[in-house]
Subunit: 398 residues, 2 copies
Amino acid sequence: MNYDKIYATRTSRIKASAIRELLKLAANPNLISLGGGLPSPDSFPLNLVTELTEKILTKYGSTALQYDTTEGFMPLRKGLVDYLQNYGIRAGLENIYISSGSQGFLDQIGKLLISPGDYVAVEGPTYLAALQAFNAYEAEYAQIETDDEGLIPESMEEIINNYPIKFIYTVPTFQNPTGKTVGLKRREQIAEIILKYDMLLVEDDPYGALRYKGETLPTIQSMAPDNVVYASTFSKIFAPGLRVGFFVAPEKFARWMVLVKQGVDLNTSTYTQAMAAEYLLGGYIPAQVNKIINIYKPKLVTMLDALAYYFPEGYKWSKPDGGMFLWVEGPKGIDMEEVYKKSIERGVGFVPGKFFFPNPEDGIETMRLNFTNVSEEEIKSAVKILAEVAKEQLEILV
Amino acid sequence: MNYDKIYATRTSRIKASAIRELLKLAANPNLISLGGGLPSPDSFPLNLVTELTEKILTKYGSTALQYDTTEGFMPLRKGLVDYLQNYGIRAGLENIYISSGSQGFLDQIGKLLISPGDYVAVEGPTYLAALQAFNAYEAEYAQIETDDEGLIPESMEEIINNYPIKFIYTVPTFQNPTGKTVGLKRREQIAEIILKYDMLLVEDDPYGALRYKGETLPTIQSMAPDNVVYASTFSKIFAPGLRVGFFVAPEKFARWMVLVKQGVDLNTSTYTQAMAAEYLLGGYIPAQVNKIINIYKPKLVTMLDALAYYFPEGYKWSKPDGGMFLWVEGPKGIDMEEVYKKSIERGVGFVPGKFFFPNPEDGIETMRLNFTNVSEEEIKSAVKILAEVAKEQLEILV
């Protein structure tokens, strides 16, 4: 039959994207990919699975296999109350809810808040999958400018004054795609501004626990709990295959989030929530996070060293204190999509940075590099090849 | 802050529903509830979990904890190709995709097809959670009439002729809420009609495997594979807590479903998909379904016997060949919401049938009874009490 005639109008915003087409070029299995966003499989606590399974069977039995409330598995929500206090999150049980991964949260918030044509303020660059989630609700974007310290509060205030913003979306800690972190003073400024304008801010924090240096910063949520929805996930501190995320929100707002989720998936897998609960309650997180940091930190150091050693003048890059990504900027005039096509031919993949900007003319000269799912050897040879292509592009430019 | 000002227009359709308010009355833990739709925990293969876990760790290792493709876990999709042939489903790998439970499928299909104000043709009564999923996309409904054999094809054709229908949604086998099944001749008529009008039909089949008597009927999908999206789930043949469903669709259409899902949850839990895969590939399903049937069938028989024994004249009910529900109709003038309030006071819960109709004036005199999550003793005493209240209401009426 002719299906085209029945698709909803919103599908014009869900279309197969240019980035997907581009990433198909990277299908070569011998490619060293700095392009993905996957945690290293070495970082998963595979050795705990049998133990956690036994605990689930003993403690929850068939409850772990039954439907659950949309709000989330109660032992997990209760465990998160204490856990989140360590991160300075002000939240009681009535503020903590489970989502089907961070993506499930992003879909929920988009569905609850975005009518077609509504504006969302996002950093440029921002998290691509957030744009994908919001696109389906036909969002428009107002782009907040960023610098080496991430989101610029003054730019955010200007955006609020010039667009009818529904909410602000930001990843302030070890951002995807840049690895940048918004400092304490800026966090305080951001909190002040959202309070001044009575705006809602979504603080997406999947990477916060993966800090390789420096001190943990207070969340923006802790500075303006009534105006911030804070979201995080077990994907980076346990495993993404569980699809268990969580968010902290004012109770009144959260009740709507739950109503929205009910129609989307009834509840997040009870079984994987029970796994996350036993992982959390068993006190495994600190040692596991430590293990993950010990895997990722040397990879980051290797990448930074290789960039400094191989890359030509004119290029600069972020120096993240944590997370999974690093951001390279070439001089104006460099087209990273060209670099991409050439480096793919030579066996190295990455993501051209322009795809992370809502403004289509921005970020042409940028690239995102992931360092978590490659070995240190691979990082060195990949960066060397990237540097060679980058140098060639520079020469074409001159 | 004032959140009300930022909610999307679609939230007017997601509001806390009357049924939820009503079901709160049933919070008494001593209540015998015929109101829910839960499988019996006795029916879950809890004894297999350790074995399945070992297989997952051996066969898939950390892959089971990693992100997966949006399409679904490949070993599960491959296993479903063979499995579905037993149900007469014509499908190759390119037609079979995983969803986050049936609800995830319903959300996907709503998101892909429904623009605000678009019409969906549904049976009256129909599955409540489908309405919830579609409501969020601001659907309007055209109600197809039903009789003892479920959906009436002539009524469906009339609806197609009189409304600008986007698609037809139906649960033709052991329907929720009625337990009714559309017979072979009607299935053929339905297939003919959708082919004639080049319409898309969604065949939702969560209960098909739970047949207690009679012969398995061919799916509508097998009669018009290009015009039918067929959906089912592991919730009733394994466990709902896994949140693993699947659907069969024409490849071109399915590609859009996958794009939609990507923004909603990236992928269904890899881990629970791996559990479902090992459950399927291990050949556990036939014995387990047999076990489930042996648990549910006597409960259905007990309920039918109790209804025949206790219920006053003027009431009639469906005689399902399978599934989890049974449907009672009182004489015109009976208000089952009144029966509900009185029976709750006497310790028995059910769902008044009117909530399953898109037309708000329909089904006042009906009720849905679930028989899977209560013991035979409980069924007998619950039906006895219901019958007493039903008789009292009849006397008030006269």
